[in-house]
Subunit: 345 residues, 2 copies
């Protein structure tokens, strides 16, 4: 199991990020907030898929128009993504947003940043300081430069007595992202927002994000994650959930392990695994089910799981809590397994 | 960049695994070798997809029947997966297999293992010793037990002057797998075969494998990888390739980074990125192309890439080697970018 570092807690509406709390999953809409219906629809789709919070880009004044109504309709806390114009941040705070994402480096002046901090503080709103190596300009050592910028921003935030702060240090390079987050966590206790920027699209992007975000979570760091994928943001939530599930973080529900099958396999492992996944999806307890094709790795892995099937020729054996329960024909395996889970879990 | 640990080199047919060589991608057929045509077809599909070597399960004597013919027809070196019966290993060696996967713990006696080692040595065949926590039985500390078994196996192999050895230490748990591989590499110089056993199927399994295998590769360890996925093994090769590409290992060809799009995006980033991927797939040089939707992260990320597009309203800017080259309408972006890549790469 991963031992997670405790950070300072940060309040985001009704949620607490950091400290010993679950890792929160977030995504970002790609609708314009001026399109009220499309934005509400996408927020709800993201929430249904498992997003704990949703970010909206507020690129201009007209994007603020329906924001307070969107906040009211949303079932999850919303984050406003602000660049260049601090008045947009103030407008978003007025509209009832729960968190602001800010890059203090492009807001213009410390006075303007301070105005945002004071307004946020009054309403107990969180601010994420986001520094991406992609937007820090030319530099010999981008990691050093990013860390130095973050030091400056945080010392300014602290001088304004603002501590409801979340930090992100991102890059499109995995190693750079890991290094920055490790260095940060050695010095500060603020919650970390993890992501690999501009990962791309499809499986390649999911794999890249999984490796990068996964490597940081394995070090016990990270309090919220966002998988950036070009395309429908709902897939970001599925990918983020897969990352947390693979690492046993926020774990509840069924974890199915199944073998890749080979010439030794005499039962249809894939069909069995998919059927079991479908039929156990409402189980909330944390249990592991092994679906194994043969006698080589089968019994061992099935013994390690809470429940398991190990296949033979047109039949299989059902395991529970390390013991063989019974041998049944292949077509009765799923039903027998489900009965035994119901009985023993 | 990842600094990869040099290991001993191990010869697998015409390939060298380990030392400073590329990380080899492998998969395993799920056909019976008694079905000659299906097996040859699957081996070729795997090789076409990018497999450097392919493993076949040899569960019984009749599986050896067409093996020498399969070896002759295969375009990649083949590995025989042997359990329980050392005569199957001897038969596979006779049939011309390039590598054997063996768990010395289930072969019966040291004499039988020694017979395999001598036969393999005579033909310069590699052997992978595979220890999975799932098959070491009950134990207080499965990691210690696996490491102790591996010590015993290796000391026996070395006492037989056999050193053409590859090692795998696997588990269905990511942390356990990482720990075993790290501990092994602190003590030995044999090449490591990486994988997460019984990862499951679909995106969840790909994510789990990516995190686990990725974490070990990030430590500079690992000389061959196999992503275990329930289903068509060709998808294992795609997933393995994605892992190596995400980490810039074995790198050649085009790496596309693209932003996740948001309300600030005025160009169709996904369509552009997919079109560029398709039209640059034959480029063998290692280049990075950034496809960015807006002016916030766009110019910075595009500057870090070798080539890039950063979108505006119905138009975009093309970057090359850190400099803006020109501004063109959206419908000419791809063509202009390809012209510039051709000219400057």
């Amino acid at each position: 199991m991963i031992t997670r570092e405790n950070t300072l807690p940060v309040m985001i509406g009704p949620l607490t990020m950091g400290h010993s709390h679950d890792v929160l999953i977030q995504s970002m809409t790609n609708t314009k907030t001026t399109d009220y219906n499309a934005t509400i629809y996408q927020i709800n789709e993201l929430a249904k898929a498992g997003a704990h919070l949703v970010r909206l880009a507020i690129p201009d004044k007209k994007s603020l128009e329906y924001l307070s109504e969107i906040v009211k309709q949303s079932t999850v806390p919303l984050v406003a993504d602000i660049h260049f114009d601090h008045k947009l941040a103030l407008g978003a705070i007025d509209a009832g947003i729960a968190k602001i994402r800010l890059n203090p480096g492009n807001i213009g002046s410390q006075d303007k940043v301070k105005e945002v901090l004071l307004a946020a503080k009054k309403k107990n709103i969180a601010i994420r300081i986001g520094v991406n190596t992609g937007s820090i300009g030319e530099s010999q050592n981008k990691v050093d430069k990013a860390m130095q910028l973050m030091d400056e921003y945080l010392s300014f935030f602290e001088s304004c007595q603002f501590q409801n702060t979340v930090v992100s240090l991102k890059s499109s390079d995995i190693n750079t992202t890991i290094t920055m987050n490790e260095r940060f966590a050695m010095k500060y206790k603020y919650p970390l927002h993890l992501g690999i920027t501009e990962a791309g699209f499809g499986q390649q992007a999911i794999v890249k994000s999984a490796i990068g975000i996964g490597a940081i979570l394995l070090k016990g760091l990270g309090n919220t994650i966002r998988v950036s994928l070009t395309g429908d943001p709902v897939q970001e939530i599925h990918a983020a959930s897969s990352i947390l599930k693979a690492l046993g973080i926020n774990a509840s529900g069924v974890n199915i392990i199944s073998c890749p099958t080979c010439a030794r396999t005499d039962i249809n492992v894939e069909k069995l695994a998919r059927e079991i996944e479908l039929k156990t999806k409402d189980i909330k307890e944390k249990i592991t089910i092994a679906v194994m094709g043969c006698v080589v790795n089968g019994p061992g892995e099935a013994m390690e799981a809470d429940f398991g099937i190990s296949g033979g020729k047109e039949c299989g054996v059902i395991f529970a809590k390390g013991k063989i329960i019974k041998k049944v024909p292949e077509d009765q395996l799923v039903e027998s397994l489900l009965d035994i889970i119901k009985e023993k879990k």
